[in-house]
Every structure is written in structure tokens, then in C-alpha cells.
């Protein structure tokens, strides 16, 4: 283990650098995200993820936000284990009838001010599952949604971009 740790110390960081030359988009998001978040909520924004019926594809990409390339936490964004600790609900999937109550309860357990971000094409309108006897529809059919992030699933970069857009909307609409 010591060898591996020493190697990591000597190795260049994998994290996409904030002012990246290769990937200007991520750098732009990173800088803007940090500024806006700080203005509204000090230095942090706590996110509770809720799978309301997803195929688990979106979960894989949300997970990826934590890897060394995207390193979500450097922006002051972090995932929390309880809705009681959350500012943002990140909801995936078409909302199934069997998850409707759990989503409502999670929403009501989240203190104000709070925002809901619907992630993925299914979360917008039910996607290819719309019309099923077992599906309510998109997330907005159950709880108020502040932002939709499109994609099947949206890549991590798109999810980051979406969180930035939310912060800007929230700053003007809810203050």
C-alpha cells in the first residue's frame, strides 16, 4: 500500500484542472459553480439522490461525479445520506406508482429552501415508460421540479452543467 500511496503522490493529478485547456467546458462550469454556490449557501450544497424508478443508468453517471476526474466535492457539492440534510433532491427515473409515496415523503422531509433536479429523459416525462399502468410519469407529476437535465443517461459533465444552471435560476427566482 505504501508503494501505491507514494506513486500517487508523485503522479500528476487526474482531476480535470479548473482552468483546463483541453476541456474548457468543465473549467467554466467549475468556476461559475463555485462562485454561485458560495454566494447562496456559503461553501456547500448538499444533495440527496432519489431513484424513483430509474433503470440505474443515471445512478451510474451520478456516481461517476465522485471519481477523480470530476471530483464533485471540490465545488462544495456533496451527497448526503438523509433528505433532512439536503438542499437539493436529485431525482431519477420515471416515477413508478410504487415509488410515488416514498418520493413525496422524501420531498417533505427535505427542509426549505430546497430544489428538485430531475435527471434523465425518463424523469422529464416518463420517457419510454410513459403510459404504463405502473408509472405516474415524470418527476414533475409528483413534486415541483426546478430543473431537468436531459440525457439517457446524461454524462457526468452534463449533470454538473445542470447543477450550475439550477444555481443561477435559484439565485434569481427564489431570493
Amino acid at each position: 500500500m505504501r508503494k501505491l500511496l507514494f506513486q500517487s503522490l508523485a503522479q500528476m493529478s487526474l482531476t480535470e484542472p479548473a482552468p483546463s485547456v483541453d476541456d474548457a467546458a468543465l473549467a467554466e462550469i467549475g468556476a461559475a459553480l463555485a462562485q454561485t454556490t458560495r454566494r447562496r449557501l456559503g461553501r456547500s450544497l448538499s444533495i440527496r439522490e432519489v431513484d424513483a424508478g430509474s433503470c440505474n443508468g443515471c445512478e451510474l453517471e451520478i456516481h461517476a461525479l465522485g471519481n477523480a476526474y470530476y471530483d464533485l466535492e471540490r465545488f462544495g457539492l456533496r451527497f448526503v445520506a438523509s433528505p433532512r440534510h439536503a438542499d437539493v433532491l436529485l431525482v431519477t427515473g420515471p416515477v413508478t406508482r410504487n415509488m410515488r409515496m416514498a418520493l413525496e415523503r422524501t420531498y417533505h422531509a427535505t427542509p426549505n429552501p430546497k430544489w428538485v433536479v430531475a435527471v434523465g429523459d425518463c424523469a422529464r416525462d416518463g420517457g419510454c415508460f410513459a403510459g404504463s399502468y405502473a408509472v405516474v410519469g415524470g418527476v414533475a407529476a409528483v413534486v415541483p421540479v426546478d430543473l431537468h437535465i436531459a440525457g439517457c443517461p446524461p454524462p457526468p459533465l452534463e449533470i454538473l452543467r445542470g447543477l450550475l444552471a439550477l444555481l443561477e435560476t435559484a439565485a434569481t427566482a427564489k431570493t
Binding site: M1, K3, L4, L5, L14, E49, V50, D51, A52, G53, S54, C55, N56, G57, C58, E59, L60, E61, I62, H63, A64, G66, N67, A68, Y69, F79, A81, S82, P83, G93, P94, T96, R97, N98, M99, R100, M101, A102, T106, C122, G127, C128, F129, G131, S132, Y133, A134, V135, C152, P153, P155
Partner: protein, 504 residues
């Protein structure tokens, strides 16, 4: 009892079912099939309903034959398989919820996928009942001193899928885990009925997102079997390439996450980097990080270019170089092994009975991998080993994944070295009369079964998708017994069952 093929001849062989025979049987023969399962002669591969029929897929491991038996359900009743063979229990409860087929003697009459939240009862029956079932659900009763219960979910603490776990513990020791699933039931099989091949393929690819390539592969093979066509050689190579990339990505994710659940975050950090490299290579080669909707009936939608090939070759080296050090780290960290060795053991008799696929089966002595046992193109021409261990604990499931990552890297190199030229997709003929097909494909989690019937005109009349998790979830209930509550995350992650794939 006779071999499976001989047994099937006792029924009427259904015409137009490929590649394995389907026999329409009487109740007497159905009961004989149940006896064959209960006696351990055959293994249950799946059980699914239609409005007036019940089907089950069987495997005879003595001579590696597969067959389906189908029973007309007079009065929408049939003799319960689960009464004598418990692995069928949840499948029968699910088929009952969807079609209203009553398994006579069913040991557990509670709803499974139906939680009482749908507007109708038996949504896939010819005439759904407009009165929903009762929302109340009676968990198994507990009796005894010093027992307490810990209810968890459906919304869990991590970024994972929803399901409910009801732990009964005595102090720190789990004496029973009862699972309740069905929260992410989307009605996929209902949406499939009457869908075009394109729409149905999209649904299949969204059954379990982590296995989207494997599901696409299985669905495509089932359609091709029904239509009696083969995808071109270049397409089958590219399909396998995607399937192996998917396997490596998931195994890397699991390897890191299992260690992380023992608070060994370093492994998670390294594995997550490698996983991200796989997804980026997949994006470069096939235009999508998870390779969704790339495998379709008739071939693949995304042919690979020279840049893609270079990206995947670079990826293989990028994983091969650092991976041995990570394996060594796992092997030499006593505090980590202390958590994984002898934890969450699956007992051999349960492995024989449930016949779980994937790393759950192979870590507890079941030498079954569809790529080897029932080889399909291109695996019939590739060289690889199927690792098998006996101990059945978390540690064994970790090692199976490690060995499979190594095998998949070798497979990817072979696939690239032998990639045939030519078309990557063919036009499919339109079915002139109803036809049926079945496929088994080895996803990262285990064998995925797809069975379907196409109408004249190639629309899907009925499609059943059986996730490997169906035979793994019940074993997780058994494996956690006598372990401490704090070891549940480790056990759970080492199984990594699909909720969405199971709930459909």
C-alpha cells in the same frame, strides 16, 4: 428420470420456437417437471406467464440441454412449482400479480410486484380487474426474546436503487433478512406487448442500466432466433467487445465499492478512475459511455473506426499496467480481508438448488457461464477461462470479479485481433407468421434470459426478460444470516443484484 430432451417429447413440441424446443404439456407432465426440479435433476432458468399459459425454462446440466415446458392454465390455475421448488416462489408471485394466474399450493400468497398502487389488478390479464389489491403487506412474523427489527428503504442512504430490507437482529447478529422488492416496477413487459422491434429493443436496453449492452445483446439474439437469422460476424465481434467492456466497467466499480464498504476508500478511488477510463473508451469507440442502444436485432448501430480501436487498445494497456498492484493490495491488506473472508457465505446446497448465475454462482462452486456452457457467437471461437471458487463468501465474489476482469481484457485483445471485415448490420426479414425465440446471454451479473413471440409483421406479442438477480436476491437473504448488521453493505455490494432488472 430421462434426459430433458426425451422428457420434452412427452408434450407437443410447439412449432416455430428456436433454438431450444418448447413443449406444451399436460398437468401431469408439468408435475413431473416439478419433480425433476425438486429432485435436483434439472435447474430452473425462468418462469413466466401469459394470459392463459404458464411457461418455465429448464436446464439439464448433465448433457447441457435447455427446454421450455408450457401449460394451459384452465380456469387460470396451475400446480405451483414453488410448493416443491422454492426458487420459483417470487417468479410465481410476480406472474400472479401480472396475469392473475393462480399457482395452486403457492406457499406465500402475498403480492410481490403489485403493492396495491396500480389502478388495476392483474394488468396483463385479458381482462384486468378494476379493484386494486390491498396496500397492506404483512412481513413475516417474528417471535422470541431480545429480537429487534431494523427497517431500511425503499429510499436508501447511498446512491442506489430502491428496495425495502427488513432486518431482524439479536444484538448485532442478523437472524433474518426479509426483502421486499417491486418499487421500480415500470411495467416493461406490458409496454413490450404490441411494440415494434425498435421500441421493444429500447425497453430491453433500459431494463437494467448497468447491463444495457448485455440486455441489448440478449434481446437481439432472441429476435434473431425467432426470425431464423444470424447477425454478421463483424457485428457479433462488436457485440462481444461491448459486452466485455461493460463487464470490466461493472466489475471494477464493484471491486472498488466492496472495498469502500469496508472503509478502504483507496481501492474505490483507484477503481473509479479505471472505470471512468473504460467509459471514455466506450464513448470514443461506440459514441455512448454505457453503449446503450448500440446492439440491435440484425447487428450493431455503431461500427467501430480506427480511432475507436486505438482507444480500446490503449484502454487495455491502461488497465493492465496498474491492475496487478491493486490486486496485490487487496490480497495483502489483512484488515480488509478480515471483513471479506468468511463473510456472507452462500451454502453449497442453496447454490445447487437456486442455480444462481454470474459471480454469485461461480464463487460458490457453480461452474456455469453461458459463454462457455452454451456458447454463442463469437465466444465459440475465443479462448478464455471461467474462474470458479468454492468458499462462497464476499472474498470469493471479489476474486471471481478480479479473475474475470483479467479474462475480459484478454478477450478484448482477441476480439480486436480477429475483427472481421464486412457489414455490421443486416436487414431483418419480416415475420410472416407468429414465431418464438429465446436467448441466454452472459451479462456481468450472470445469465440474462429473453423469451419472446413475434406476431406476423414482426411486432412483439409477448416478451419476458429474466434478470440474473431473480435467483440471487433470495440467496442474499440466506447469506446474511448469522452475520452482523454492519457487514450487510459488504454482502449486498458483493451480490450487487439489480433492482430494476428484477422489478421490470
Amino acid at each position: 428420470m430421462a434426459g430433458l430432451h426425451e422428457f420434452l417429447r412427452k408434450g407437443g413440441i410447439a412449432p416455430g420456437h428456436r433454438p431450444w424446443p418448447r413443449a406444451v404439456v399436460t398437468a401431469k407432465i408439468w408435475n413431473e417437471a416439478i419433480a425433476g426440479l425438486a429432485g435436483g435433476q434439472w435447474q430452473l432458468l425462468g418462469l413466466w406467464g401469459e394470459p392463459d399459459h404458464i411457461h418455465m425454462a429448464l436446464r439439464d446440466d448433465a448433457d447441457e440441454t435447455i427446454g421450455i415446458v408450457s401449460l394451459d392454465c384452465e380456469g387460470r390455475r396451475y400446480p405451483s412449482v414453488a410448493l416443491h421448488h422454492p426458487p420459483a416462489l417470487r417468479l410465481e408471485r410476480a406472474a400472479r400479480d401480472l396475469f392473475g394466474l393462480e399457482p395452486v399450493g403457492l406457499p406465500d400468497p402475498r403480492g410481490w410486484l403489485d403493492h396495491g398502487n396500480w389502478d388495476v389488478r392483474h394488468p396483463l390479464a385479458v381482462k384486468p380487474d378494476p379493484t386494486p389489491i390491498d396496500k397492506a403487506y404483512a412481513f413475516l412474523p417474528i417471535e422470541g426474546d431480545g429480537l429487534h427489527q431494523i427497517p431500511v428503504g425503499p429510499v436508501h442512504a447511498g446512491i442506489i436503487e430502491p428496495g425495502h430490507f427488513r432486518f431482524t437482529a439479536n444484538g448485532e447478529t442478523v437472524v433474518r433478512l426479509e426483502q421486499r422488492l417491486g418499487y421500480v416496477h415500470k411495467g416493461i413487459e406490458g409496454l413490450m406487448a404490441g411494440a415494434t422491434l425498435e421500441a421493444a429493443g429500447k425497453l430491453a436496453a433500459r431494463t437494467s442500466g448497468d447491463s444495457t449492452a448485455a440486455y441489448g445483446f440478449a434481446f437481439a439474439r432472441a429476435v434473431e432466433a425467432a426470425l431464423g437469422v444470424e447477425a454478421p460476424p463483424r457485428a457479433t465481434h462488436l457485440r462481444a467487445l461491448m459486452a466485455e467492456l461493460e463487464r470490466i466497467a461493472n466489475h471494477l466499480g464493484d471491486f472498488g465499492a466492496i472495498c469502500n464498504d469496508a472503509s478502504f476508500a483507496l481501492m474505490q478511488a483507484h477503481c473509479a478512475v479505471l472505470r471512468e477510463k473504460v467509459l471514455r473508451a466506450a464513448q470514443a469507440a461506440f459514441g455512448h459511455r454505457l453503449m446503450r442502444d448500440r446492439i440491435v436485432p440484425g447487428g450493431v448501430t455503431a461500427d467501430i473506426g480506427s480511432d475507436g480501436i486505438a482507444a480500446i487498445r490503449a484502454l487495455v494497456n491502461d488497465i493492465k499496467a496498474p491492475f496487478p498492484a491493486l490486486v496485490e493490495l487487496y490480497d495483502n491488506t489483512a484488515s480488509l480481508q478480515d471483513r471479506t473472508v468468511t463473510t456472507g457465505s452462500v451454502k453449497p446446497h442453496l447454490t445447487r438448488q437456486y442455480a444462481p448465475g454470474g459471480y454469485v454462482g461461480r464463487a460458490s462452486g457453480r461452474a456455469f457461464d453461458v459463454r462457455r456452457n452454451l456458447p454463442y457467437a463469437p465466444y465459440d471461437r475465443l479462448i478464455f477461462e471461467v474462474p470458479v471458487l468454492e468458499s462462497g463468501d464476499v472474498n470469493a465474489r471479489v476474486w471471481i470479479r478480479i479473475r474475470e476482469i483479467e479474462q475480459s481484457l484478454s478477450l478484448i485483445a482477441q476480439l480486436l485481433d480477429t475483427l472481421p471485415q464486412g457489414a455490421a448490420r443486416i436487414d431483418l426479414p419480416t415475420a410472416r407468421e407468429p414465431c418464438e425465440g429465446m436467448a441466454l446471454v452472459e451479462g456481468f451479473r450472470g445469465d440474462i434470459l429473453v423469451w419472446l413471440r413475434l406476431d406476423a409483421g414482426s411486432r412483439v406479442a409477448r416478451c419476458h426478460l429474466r434478470d440474473p438477480s431473480w435467483f440471487q436476491w433470495p440467496l442474499l437473504e440466506a447469506a446474511i444470516e448469522d452475520n452482523i448488521v454492519a457487514d450487510f453493505p459488504l454482502c449486498n455490494k458483493s451480490f450487487n443484484c439489480s433492482y430494476s432488472g428484477h422489478d421490470l
